[in-house]
Symmetry: C7
Subunit: 93 residues, 7 copies
């Protein structure tokens, strides 16, 4: 089973807190909007087919996104978030 | 009798919960916006005639969409939802 | 006497409930936005002269639209609704 | 003295109730937005010089418009309404 | 000293009530938005250099505008209003 | 030290009240939005490189702007306001 | 580890208060929106690849931005802000 995001959306999977700590990223829990870290599982066709966007994000990238953006879906027991490219803030390398 | 959606709308039919469980998808009932799973019954002309959109969705596809989007209609005893393509989040394969 | 809608508007006439039941359509009275069924009486010039729109709707079509859209007018004792094409959801065949 | 509307505005003059009854139009006083009937007195330059708009409305036309749209002005004792073309719903013939 | 409005703005000076009565215009004091009458003192460069706009308004024109639009400025003891062309409703001739 | 505004912004410095009185401008303190007078210290690249905008405003110009627009910054003890060109109402000559 | 901002975003790092005082900038703590000073750490691809934007901001620039804009992220113990270019007000030289 496979999720193919439509338009300029991406499907991402949250990275667990322990893993985040290991990787050196700590996302602050302040009163301001809290970003989240995730891995890209699928990229929509309006990104893949856009000369400017296709090099900015790809499957396997680790990304930071706003936790208030996107829609959560559970598929075969795993939780994913479907989010617009515009709500992905940055790629971590 | 037939529903032909206008513009970039699609007509979808909800997939029952039992069927969803069988297929391995579980949609969480959290406080956040809950997505829904449905089958595409008809696709509007602005999708069919658009080079970029026509390959993204077709009759028979199983899709995830936001439950707050679209308008419900009952036709010959069956309930459908008429929804804009932009409110369809992803296709499940 | 004749109503000619301006721009991309259409003039529609509500179809009575009995007639709707006969035709097999039942529009649910839930808490969500309730769509309505009507017949198209006139189509505005920005639809007729648009290559993409002119084939989507024509006089005599039966359409579903949102009941919160459009403006009601009574002409020679008959009630019509003037509505933008974008608020017409689908054509029923 | 003369009012020349700017942009895509038109100047209209309300048609009295008796006259409306004679002509067979009755505008319902429901809780919904109430349209009004008026005669076109002047048409702005962005309508006159637009190939698509100039044939849709002209001086002398009887039109239906939303009563919440436009601005009222009294000139030499006569009340007019200055309204954008987009707020004129239809022409009555 | 001189006020040169930027963009598509105009500088206007209110016409006194007595003068308005003489000229036959009476602006109603209803609960609805009240238009005001003024004389054009200066016209911005985006109007002067626009083929469609430059013939619609010029210095010396008497105009009707919404009293809620624009910003008031007092210069050498005289009050002016700086307003966008789009908030000027009509020219009176 | 130097402030280079980005995009279509300008950096302005308020003109003191005494100076304003001398120059004959008095800005009313009514309940309506109060404009302010200032001198232009720097102009952003999207203005300088725009054929239509570059002649409308330049360093040294005295301008009127809305006091609710822009962001104040203190640099080497002097207060400046960074504001979008669109919020500058007029140039005073 | 590296943060690559997407689209027209930049990654910036706050400049400490003592350093700001040394450099002569004092940002007032009034009731109005308070700008902040920071150093640019990374610039997104939609800026680098845009002829008009690429010369306006680069890594190492000191910038002023609105403190209400952007999202904070802590990476390897250092706090960064990811912000859209449009929310950066000016470069300090």
């Amino acid at each position: 089973m496979n999720i193919k995001p439509l338009g300029d959306r991406v499907v991402i999977k949250m990275i667990e807190a322990e893993e985040k700590t290991k990787s050196g990223i700590v996302l602050p829990s302040s009163a301001k909007e809290q970003p989240q870290m995730a891995e890209v599982m699928a990229v929509g066709p309006d990104i893949v087919n856009d000369e400017k966007k296709k090099d900015q994000i790809k499957v396997g990238d680790r990304v930071i996104f706003s936790k208030y953006a996107g829609t959560e879906v559970k598929l075969d027991g795993v939780e994913y978030t479907i989010i617009k490219l515009n709500d992905v803030l940055a790629v971590i390398e």
